[in-house]
Assembly symmetry: C2
Homo-oligomer: 560 residues x 2
Amino acid sequence: MDPSSLPDGVSAVVIGVDYGTLSGRAVVVRVSDGAELGSAVHPYSHGVLERELPSSGHLLPPDWALQVPSDYVDVLRNAVPQALAASGVPAEAVIGLGTDFTACTVLPVLADGTPLSELPEFADEPHAYVKLWKHHSAQSHADRINAAAHQRNEPWINRYGGKLSAEWALAKGLQLFEDAPAVYAATEHLVEAADWIVWRLTGTYVRNTCTTGYKAARQDGKYPSEEFLESLSPGFGGFIRDKIEHPVLELGELAGRLTAEAAAWTGLPEGIAICVGNVDAHVTSAAARALDPGQMVAIMGTSTCHVMNSDQLGEVPGMCGVVDGGIVKGLWGYEAGQSGVGDIFGWFVDSGVPDSYRLEAQRRGLGLHEYLTELAAAQAVGQTGLIALDWHNGNRSVLVDHTLSGVVVGQTTVTAPEDIYRALLEATAFGTRTIIEAFERNGVPVTEFIVAGGLLKNALLMQIYADVTRLPLSVITSEQGPALGSAIHAAVAAGAYPDVRTASEAMGRVERAAYRPDESRAKVYDAMFAEYTTLHDYFGRGGNDVMHRLRELRREALDR
Amino acid sequence: MDPSSLPDGVSAVVIGVDYGTLSGRAVVVRVSDGAELGSAVHPYSHGVLERELPSSGHLLPPDWALQVPSDYVDVLRNAVPQALAASGVPAEAVIGLGTDFTACTVLPVLADGTPLSELPEFADEPHAYVKLWKHHSAQSHADRINAAAHQRNEPWINRYGGKLSAEWALAKGLQLFEDAPAVYAATEHLVEAADWIVWRLTGTYVRNTCTTGYKAARQDGKYPSEEFLESLSPGFGGFIRDKIEHPVLELGELAGRLTAEAAAWTGLPEGIAICVGNVDAHVTSAAARALDPGQMVAIMGTSTCHVMNSDQLGEVPGMCGVVDGGIVKGLWGYEAGQSGVGDIFGWFVDSGVPDSYRLEAQRRGLGLHEYLTELAAAQAVGQTGLIALDWHNGNRSVLVDHTLSGVVVGQTTVTAPEDIYRALLEATAFGTRTIIEAFERNGVPVTEFIVAGGLLKNALLMQIYADVTRLPLSVITSEQGPALGSAIHAAVAAGAYPDVRTASEAMGRVERAAYRPDESRAKVYDAMFAEYTTLHDYFGRGGNDVMHRLRELRREALDR
């Protein structure tokens, strides 16, 4: 495993494996310069379980989202050897492997890591399966956790913008405890999938600073207290001690070495370095060479996740969380998010654009997004006469209210589809600026905006973000940011670089200041952002709770 | 002309002629029972002049809308004889003719009624032509009139909801005076087209209570004072005395008798009764048997005009006007309006519905409006989760602000086109309820809602209006309400009935309480209307002037 012992012309490589919501992707990356030499994707055969269990057809309630752990191992068995084959690199050139995962995605396991869902007695028990990040049925549990935390003035709650999410480990754990006592009793560890897959690779269970911090409420080396947990539900006091607590390693550290069993799955050499687990969004910072304080990385797809390091600790209202070493060792890692971005554009294109546009786009050989973007790009800032609120999926930051909804103000009978499309693009940029300003107001400056994810292909959208935020906008130049980030972490775990920053400098890929703000456009956007903010506060901060009442009316109508 | 002198089997008939924006329609109506025996439409060959003059190609500025007076005479020459032929009735059975017109539609004429646009010296002068009701370029003149009226506490301004429209005679007259002094000087009468066509038929110029009241600010027998007019612009003080003042007759009175010349145009017997002029919306009340106090008639098409009689005089903020005898002699006639109704639904169907809906509608043999209505009708009240403001064309009543714009609140990524369609239908119903409540708050009760116009075919829309207003909703059963109303007035002028009410009872056509409010739906609509009202006042009464600022940003963007 000494790179210098490789044959002539063969360079050392690492493998990054990115576990997404529907599939896992493996990428083979050259250690010296980050060149991506080959990749492969393997979809999860069970996908996301939202309606029923695969074994028995047991029906699931609304808002459930489960997965099957063996699907993750299948990615190791299939995508890894296929990526290696595609790269043409011999297996002996692979010096390490790193992974990233969706989070908070948790599963109950025995002491040896066996998922409870694989035990015959629990095969028909939904609570024994992996609860995917978007399993949303623990909202009432989260509400109780948040109310109790504020009532007791728990200091950690402000590290999470004042609210823990229903997606996170405490809410999911409380739901498990109360709704499935037998499964809870049998659970020897409630494990993040990010750590479970590393456990499968190394035979050793270690936790990581990222998921323990952002998802399990670990702050300053401690979790929420036994007294706090007991106050939520009698008997729940031992949750952290019994199900969660376990040694925690920093990101980029060596978790262990590839077992013979996992070497057989992957075709990789037994004993290579396996990095500690990580999260898809956070690991992308390394891939985008954006680990310095003030460099905000936005992974923009159906939704947007913002991650940024700072040497300052600020308690930013409405952020998702701040964690010491949550993105890179030695800095405070911040996370925020927008719950609808590409989702909103996609909804509009699917449901709000007439056939005349589709026909013209087809005639021109353009997709409908491309055609609308072209029309919207021809407009001057302000010309649409519209302002929208981007809350069609609720608001993650800074209002943390998933029951909010979208607004468009200013339509006339000459308003065209491209006007609304542009207003929606702009609305998401205003949402980002709202987040940036919340950081800055709380002592956490943002100096650069770096975009990863599918939406960076839309040049109009990128320019709008630069103009609205008045920040230079950089773009990652890898199409598989998370997997590249995992490979960079693997290179550190393998000892090829002294730390993640150095590895990121050598292996990351970014085009700096690909878009620069234009002052004349930025000035008009200042005026439009002031309108957005007025509407944001009116509809989002109690000026008019109409959105909540409309949602309630809708629920009542559907119940009737 | 004694009906008893007609041959056996031939009943006396009257003809109603309805002058619309693009065409004139003649209907032959049996005097005894209002049966419509034949009709014909004749389009104006010059339509609406919005870009250039027909003779010279002289370009018109934005917001201009002119017409050519000979087009109106062509309706007499063509539609009237065609309608008579279609009816199979001999000409000698026709005992009278009545007309209604768009308003305020005015033209400058010589003392004998010759339009100035027909004089060679003015053929290339836009101000010499008919200014159609929707000629909107006198807004700055209207603003000055309103400011001065309030400054001087002119009492008549409150008979117009506090604001005269830019469409009306004072604003159009002031524009003529200031922008075209030579045309103004040559003008011997500034005549409503409603009166001009009667003049053409009878050879006698008389004005009518409806247009003089609603459009020329005549109240309690007087017009605005010479001092007031002079204060607007030096030299304008004589406007009423020199250009407007003329004997005014009540609606339904005999204006004169058909001249030999007009008998030749129409093929009708010389000497038959010609009724005084009237306005399309107001005349419909008689056609719908809705002349009693509290019966609000809504003519619902691209926009909605509301007319209603009352024995009470109330000064309703934001109404268009109240005029003694403005609809029927002896009662106060009220007018209000919504500037976008069918226009908004049409805009949405044209620009906001995807091809999958169009294809499914085609497959089912339905129009897109019908298909969306069917989908929307399947929803429970409140199920859309949406509230809209119906201001896509501005707001005529009660805010009187044409620079407002539309809003939709509550979209999510599962919002479907039929949800938005339904929300827009409901928004216009909320707009109507807002008008009704303004009347009731000011001592003018509304007890029945009667619909005329093209939109009455949409049963879902009608039921929504009944549920939202909690009023029994009646519908006119004639498809040519204004022409029928004019025929009813002609029958009175001809002496076949003692007054318009009696004629209306015998000849009008209405289905009473065709839709009744449903209490359970009305209760949910009460909650939604409360939301509408909160948004209406927030965006429309100064809570947030964002719509004005967005319009300004749009103007600036287009100027750049």
